[in-house]
Symmetry: C2
Subunit: 418 residues, 2 copies
């Protein structure tokens, strides 16, 4: 007898999370004998708690295929962490009630480490309540900080975006430096792990190329040493390009972005380590500085996505359904690297218990001696992940993204406030 | 008898100024009977004053063709304004001396309004000194604020970049708004004119689409009205996307970016109207805000350049040489629009005296009634400028830009300090 599916998206979205959705839905549609309806949670787990389930059967095959080219979370995502089962048993009971009401046999949760903690908790509660459920995680995070998997879908596209952007901006700065901007600072994401910042270094073709300095969250910020490096670089190259992680901390452990920037009313300024660094360079070294903060632009830049990343995002979605049909449970498909040159990978799997709430930082041997750059090992790891183009269909000069109907099904249960 | 050429780049560079350089060099190379050597000034007019002239004949046809795909200024640019002839006659005499020493008959200066003031001054001084010179301007500016020309090469590509980026980020925000960011602020360039900010509105497909609010430099910032608009938009749409020009001013005429953001040491913060707006929204409306500052990323984003813009940049370079050979002088080729739908354009020309130091702002009938959006007339004007893709050759997953040899010729004159 066929069972129904719920797929949901969780946590910060990416340029390719919808490619995973596409992989799940296309694969599930190909098995009508074993899989019935394919629902999507509206805004992740919240849609399940509220019984706000999207009927994806109303979306055409064409529109589902277009998900591969559409950034953001097509069904809505959320930041919502389930409490422990003993702290909020009602919440868990509600999830199982919703599964039961809609004959759900398969739950696919697409998210990072926090989200896979949710998948795992739900799997456990289903087991303890004797509800037959296949719960499978699907990896996603621009931060690339999921353990076990060689890389995380979403990351390769951000890496390609930041490396492209910093290379382009560096051509600009190089040509103007003598009479204009000497130092350029690009702030990128990755609050705890320096993967995205490290990827900026892929823009270098030769040793003296920009970016000249990386400020990684794995290294505490040393003002004197940093300013010295900037000074030396400007003296030698005429300009200096810096990539800084939003999560860089001072030696006392505070985020640099929280080191006291205030507006005229005394309000603490929101985020922004780039303006902090820029200010420092300008006031201490009297050099003209420009800065950019890529913020959401980097994680939604589908137009410059990495084909490798798109293919891997699709593959983990597809594999999640395949594993489910093969009888696997409480696992997550992962990317397993077979070789760097040529780059070869395959899909493998990991137990959810091994990945929930674990963060993978840049390993020590990926950071160079002075702490402001990456090693060859890091370069060899990163380079394959940005390979290949995946051009977006264009309409009227702009990317033509799909908007799904996202029609909700009739609820069967009383409302539940969350 | 053939005369030599000096081409030079001036002011802020763009994603397509090198396409103009390519147009000049390819066209000049096609007329060996009338044009001898083609030199480029190293860092604009500074290279002429210093007699630092690049011999472009050492660059292969292939590399010159690759300029079409390379952002920044391939020969270096500068921010340097000539004084009036009576204030610094030595400087003008030096320029003519350099022209004379290298048998220069043609001077092509590629820049915006300030730069064309330089072209014009040089033309006048040559005339007054009886030095036979053809001085022709080539338009360039991301700000689109040059008068007479329908649009400025460089602008269409920024317009395409900002509209693409804000559409992509909006898909991200829309999917996360319920439990995460409610308001997103993107800061774009255009200190005096709102053309780039207005272009963000091209991302809208339907009336309620993002971006919901534009903050144009043509309108003083009204805090109460703006916050009200944000509140209403969030209530209706669930989120609000704001595009803000770096040049927005408070009602007292001060730039918002100068309204007193200070770091812990009391230093005024550099630029950044986006963090100012973000702070305002968060403190007054208690809504979660994210912000991005595109800065140089927008004007160097060759990877998402508009084909129309690339073609026009090339065309004005080519036309500059054609006009010169036809006996024109002290003019600048411009884009003349023949129709909106279908978009048709041709190259025309304008006297340098008509464009030097004039700025073109958004006309009143391009700004909608409440001041936070654009009219249909503006949309019809902007849309053709972002049409068409011009993909960059890629290598190792990143744009493959050309680096010229930029070999300097032997100086003939004593050094000149500037």
């Amino acid at each position: 007898m066929s069972k129904n599916v719920i797929y949901a998206q969780s946590g910060g979205v990416t340029a390719v999370i919808n490619a995973s959705a596409c992989g799940v839905i296309e694969t599930a549609r190909a098995h009508p004998g074993r899989i019935g309806k394919i629902y999507a949670g509206q805004n992740g787990i919240l849609g399940i708690l509220r019984e706000k389930l999207i009927d994806t059967s109303l979306e055409s095959d064409t529109d589902i295929a277009r998900l591969k080219f559409t950034p953001g979370g097509a069904f809505g995502s959320c930041r919502y962490k389930l409490k422990k089962a003993e702290e909020n048993p009602t919440e868990y009971k509600r999830i199982i009630d919703v599964f039961q009401a809609h004959n759900i046999g398969y739950f696919f949760y697409n998210g990072g480490g926090d989200s896979q903690d949710t998948t795992w908790k739900i799997a456990n509660i289903a087991k303890s309540m004797n509800y037959p459920l296949v719960a499978i995680g699907i990896p996603k995070t621009v931060d690339n900080d999921l353990p076990v998997t060689d890389s995380s879908p979403g990351f390769g596209s951000v890496a390609k975006y930041v490396a492209t952007s910093i290379r382009e901006a560096s051509y600009d700065i190089a040509s103007m430096a003598e009479t204009s901007t000497r130092v350029f600072v690009l702030e990128v994401m990755g609050r705890h792990a320096g993967w995205i910042t490290a990827s900026c270094a892929l823009a270098k073709e030769y040793a003296d190329d920009a970016p000249h300095l990386l400020l990684l969250p794995e290294r505490p910020f040393n003002e004197a040493s940093f300013l010295d490096k900037v000074k030396i670089t400007v003296a030698r190259q005429g300009y200096c390009v810096v990539a800084v992680s939003e999560g860089v901390r001072a030696e006392n452990g505070n985020f640099l972005s929280e080191t006291g920037m205030r507006d005229a009313f005394g309000h603490a300024q929101l985020g922004g380590v780039a303006p902090f660094i820029a200010n420092l360079v300008q006031t201490r070294l009297s050099l003209k500085v420009h800065w950019a903060v890529a913020d959401y632009l980097q994680r939604s830049a589908r137009h410059i996505a990495s084909l490798t990343d798109v293919e891997q995002a699709y593959a983990v979605g597809k594999a999640a359904v395949k594993y489910a049909l093969e009888g696997e449970n409480t696992i997550m498909p992962i990317i397993h690297r077979l070789s760097d040159k040529p780059y070869k990978w395959e899909i493998s799997k990991v137990q959810l218990s091994e990945i929930a709430n674990v963060e993978k930082h840049l390993p020590e041997d990926f950071i160079n001696k002075d702490g402001y750059g990456i090693t060859e090992a890091c370069h060899n790891y990163l380079l394959p992940l940005i390979q290949g183009e995946s051009p977006v269909p264009m309409k009227n000069g702009l990317p033509d993204f799909v908007r799904l109907k996202n029609r909700l099904i009739e609820p069967q249960l009383p409302p539940y406030a969350v």
